[in-house]
Symmetry: C2
Subunit: 270 residues, 2 copies
């Protein structure tokens, strides 16, 4: 039996939650549309799909309040671990429900139930379970979470760290990042109406952009630094990723069905 392609989709927190950081709220209309596009694309039965979603205010607010990313330093943080995970699980339940409403056999995958970090980097994740789930056609839906950390006691696993980890370990064929921007711009689009989306990025071009930026005192990749560094690492292993907009109807479905170049592609030797 020929192995199906594996696609990993990251639904950015900014694409599925409301922007107001003061209260956790879902962007239900956008989430439902994205779920519909995923279901449409999966109908052609061409690939296995793993979904990771971001946190938005659901995770960032309690994680910041209890300084969970600094490690376990006080017993006062323990209730914060419970708060943060419970909040993220609430969001995950809503995302899985939205996907199931479209008929998808979606299944939650709680990172903190089996994953372990070491100084913030994943060193253990239930890949055996995930491979079996993908093999039988389930759509696992995972997320950023607070995990046991071998060095720090606890630490935050961000969706942006989980996605490339899974892409590498599962030998994914494609990684699609659904963001609130249509890709990486060549200039700050807020200040430059003529800013354009960079079609392809790699280590070389990112270095050039950063050099230009540092001469000008700005870095257009700055806001995406963590994300880009992870994706460049993935590109080193020849796994291509693409950042697309979560607000342009049809873009996710087209990307899932194989259209490349809708947003910014991050690949080797660019």
């Amino acid at each position: 039996m020929k192995k199906k392609k594996i696609i990993i989709v990251k639904l950015g927190g900014s694409a599925i939650t409301a922007k107001d950081d003061s209260k956790p709220e879902v962007n239900a209309a956008n989430l439902e549309r994205l779920a519909g596009e995923i279901a449409e694309a999966l109908k052609e039965d061409k690939f296995s799909l793993f979904i990771v979603h971001g946190a938005g205010p659901y995770g960032h607010v309690p994680a910041k309040k209890y300084e969970l990313n600094s490690g376990l330093k006080s017993t006062k943080q323990v209730i914060g671990i419970s708060d943060t995970h419970h909040s993220m699980e609430g969001l995950n339940y809503i995302v899985v429900t939205a996907l199931r409403k479209e008929g998808l056999p979606a299944i939650a995958l709680q990172p903190s139930a089996g994953g372990i970090l070491k100084n913030g980097k994943l060193i253990k994740f239930p890949l055996d379970v995930i491979k079996k789930m993908l093999g039988m056609g389930l759509v696992p839906v995972s997320y950023g979470d607070v995990l046991i950390d071998e060095d720090k006691g606890i630490s935050i696993l961000s969706g942006d760290h989980l996605v490339p980890y899974l892409a590498e370990k599962l030998k994914a064929d494609r990684v699609i990042l659904v963001a609130d921007v249509p890709g990486v711009f060549d200039k700050d689009p807020k200040k430059n109406p003529d800013a354009k989306i960079i079609k392809e990025l790699g280590r070389k071009s990112v270095r050039q952009i950063r050099e230009i930026g540092s001469a000008k005192g700005t870095d257009v990749t700055g806001g995406m630094k963590g994300k880009l560094d992870e994706l460049l690492h993935l590109a080193d292993m020849d796994i291509e990723s693409e950042i697309i907009s979560g607000f342009a109807p049809g873009d996710l479905e087209r990307a899932l069905l194989g259209v490349r170049g809708i947003g910014t592609i991050i690949k080797k030797d660019s």
Copy 2:
């Protein structure tokens, strides 16, 4: 640092869900009372606690509909895996919320995210993560779930199988099973108003009861056969368990605080 005692509590499905099998519904009043008793007992900070809850109609109905315990035989079951897990996760979210309302640092622990069965028996579970959670004072809350099975593709992990597995692996000091009966009766209490709770059970006494029962054509341990067999296995390893009522106010709190003999104790050499 002295290692705290570890107690494992099973909140039976019959104690926290409504009895009507046709619709999944929580017995909110009873769940809240039990959560309150757990919180009270934990205030004395004498033990670490792991909670497992049963399924009631939340798990049994979809699992039966899709015959998940017979293994993966058809692609039609895949949506049933999603249905069953999502339903159980919904119940788990309610249970964790009830515990958190009492101030407990409760945290969900999804069995299917890391556990693996082999012909229905657990062969893998994230014990490393669980030990760290217990060590920092978190209260993990796990449940019956549908898991990857190495032989059968998928299979059901029941709470009654998970509890003794964890008790053995975590070297638990005490196991408390909260049921809808106050223990194991010596006669069928529905037919015999003078039926009494058996105070202690072990392999020897269970054998005697079953011999008497088979002579009379009845077995008073019949309804609890699977549960008792697992608990007797635990008793062989010198881990004592006790079945108590989930409907007698105060019983769970007292049991957690060390009172023995409220219900039926299952122990070695009885």
